[in-house]
Amino acid sequence: MTTARDGSPRRRHTGNLSSDRLGALARAALAVAGPDAVLWAPRQAAQRWAWEPITSPDDLDPRTWRRMVNTRISPKGILLPQTQEVFSWQGRTPKIALDVPPPPQPAVILGLRPCDAVAFDRLDEALLVGEWPDVAYARARSRAVLVTFACESMSPECMCEAAGLSPTTPSGDLLVLPAGESLLLEALTAKGEAVLAELEGREPMPEAGSLVDARREELAGAAGHHAPGLAAGQDWTRLPPADPETVLAMFGMPGWEELARPCLSCGLCAFVCPTCHCFALTDEPRGDTGRRVRTWDSCGLTDFMRAAGGHDPRPAKAQRMRQRFLHKLVYHRAAHGSLMCTGCGRCAAGCPAGLHIATAAKMLLAAAEQVAQDALSGCAAPGRPQEDPQ
């Protein structure tokens, strides 16, 4: 017995599926997700890989995914849409009728990379933990089935190792390790178990425990997923815990101004990011009817923090950028214990000004190190008032 990712005790459940039977896996996942479930998978369109609803699962060919490192835009929008209606209204005071949109169809997300699958765990921490879970996201998330595909190749943009992950990090409900003409499967949650059981009912297949272990080791060993400027093993999880003194030192680093100089204050980094989840709420009135929508927002955009009355606590782009990087690398970790960056590299690849989160991370590591050193040398410094004057 072992413990699954969702905490349920279970026996290890693996399988070995021929790669031309991916359609059967998709159908099994759809059966588990529910009768009206929608299948999402990466598809190459206009030379870019994008997440698209798939109506014919049997046409999916996992061999084509070997050419894909990852999709250009993250899959977060499948469960956290860019535009989402909160409610609509009709009529005028005192006779206003409110209407809440129906829950979304359950989603099967097939072909996630580990960085993106882990990103949903981060979104869970941000949106579901605590007294006020995000209702819309909770509904979409609880019904979704996530099938992760380990990476067989990488791009210069990849840096999952910097974020403490690897090309085979167990993530999602079911992990798939492609190995030649085989897909080696391992259930990671109760939902993953159900998918595997459903699949076995359709396609008898052998257990593959030792093959899974061997292939995982093989793929995880593929070097080079660390961030530029960082050596292997020197990942951002080494950033120290966020004690007030260290956070203040990071906050007050003189380098923010220079780092932010190229920033153009667009929202690209946040919008392609698989873990950014800030949103705006706006009303869209149309005469006597209308709706309230929430839309993706970004702390990098001008006016993001502007309050009623006009005050903006972060008017300068260096302040906005500091917020973004500290939230990714320090604040979320202080609250939930994990980095808010999964190293997918989309922000760095897409930034029109060529800014890189690794540059910020390096500065933060240096600032934290300085605090640690000062603390040490401060203790030993001569002339320091003695605690005990005797």
Binding site: R72, I73, L264, L268, A270, V293, T295, W296
Partner: protein, 330 residues
């Protein structure tokens, strides 16, 4: 297929000489106090791509680079940096960077005596995705007519004029380029069917992928307003939801706001994470300006800019007497 790391278009020795000239020039400008800052490019990860460099010390001039990896347009930084820097600010850039700077000057956003423009010949910018494979020239670079410096312009100096000849004959299109520059959904440019239902179909197909991240607006040198009608939250002129009507509003407002002021730098298209061929919109407008007003190069700022001036004799494409006005989205 060029070797990995072998820049398309630039002969290696030309690139080396050009780079040296740029570094020497920046160093001497800073040493002599001619300028307080030089904006250029420096190499950064991934790909060793050229990102903006803001050099204020002569000793830092050695980091400057030129070449196809320098994707980021740098002209627009004058807007911030002339306000933040003591002394003049120099831009060492390609034709598109120079036009971007001239745009800011023509729009009265930057004073001409605050800047020094140094024009470096260019053999095209690489496509980011293709850089790991050895580079491919961006689509809009193939139509560029300011690759080689034009002498005799006020306030503009030329670096490496003697090397321009070597770059003039360099082929922009290597074998590796074809894939990356192929049309993406429909044929690009004014010749594509952009009118009526077909035009609506075509552009709907693109706009539904728009993330409204404002990268196109943020990178555009003609989008130089301090408060942007598209980004304003209060009042909210364009709704934030990404339904198609709002997407059309967003892109058409932008296209029309920069109409006649677009410098053809291709920054909007380069920045777009959804890969929307935004330059096609600008080229439709430019083609109309050429046809209606006889302006040969509507993307060159500071010359005749017919859309910025009211003239009772302006042609009216709606009037049946005139037969011009093709290309427009209807």
């Amino acid at each position: 297929m060029p070797d990995a790391g072998q820049p398309v278009g630039y002969p290696a020795e030309v690139l080396r000489d050009l780079q040296q000239l740029v570094r020497d020039c920046a160093r001497s400008l800073l040493e002599q106090g001619e300028v307080g800052m030089v904006i250029g490019h420096r190499a950064a990860a991934p790909y060793g791509r050229g990102v903006p460099a803001f050099v204020t010390e002569p000793g830092e001039a050695g980091q400057l680079m030129v070449g196809p990896q320098c994707q980021v347009g740098i002209g627009k930084y004058l807007l911030d940096q002339t306000r933040a820097t003591r002394g003049r600010v120099a831009v060492i850039g390609r034709g598109c960077d120079i036009l971007a700077a001239r745009r800011l000057i023509a729009d009265n956003r930057v004073a001409p005596d605050q800047v020094l423009l140094l024009w470096v010949p260019c053999a095209g910018r690489a496509v980011p995705e293709a850089m790991a494979k050895g580079g491919a020239v961006a689509r809009h670079c193939l139509q560029c007519d300011v690759r080689l410096p034009e002498p005799g312009q006020d306030g503009i100096e030329i670096i490496g004029a003697h090397l321009a000849g070597a770059l003039a004959s360099a082929s922009l299109v290597g074998e590796g380029c074809l894939e990356a520059t192929a049309p993406r959904i429909a044929p690009a440019g004014p010749g594509a069917d952009n009118a009526g239902d077909a035009g609506y179909e075509r552009w709907s197909g693109w706009f539904e992928h728009c993330l409204r991240c404002y990268a196109c607006r943020a990178t555009c040198p003609a989008c130089n307003c301090d408060i942007c009608v598209l980004e304003s939250r209060s009042p909210q002129w364009v709704e934030r939801s990404t339904a198609l009507p709002q997407q059309f509003m967003f892109h058409f407002i932008r296209a029309m706001d920069v109409a006649g002021r677009c410098v053809n730098c291709g920054e909007c298209e380069r920045a777009c994470p959804a890969g929307i061929p935004l330059m096609d919109l600008q080229q439709l407008v430019a083609a109309d300006i050429t046809e209606l007003f006889g302006v040969e190069r509507p993307h060159v700022p500071g010359e005749h800019e017919p859309l910025g001036i009211f003239d009772a004799r302006d042609p009216d494409p709606e009037r049946p007497a005139r037969t011009s006005g093709g290309g427009a989205l209807s």
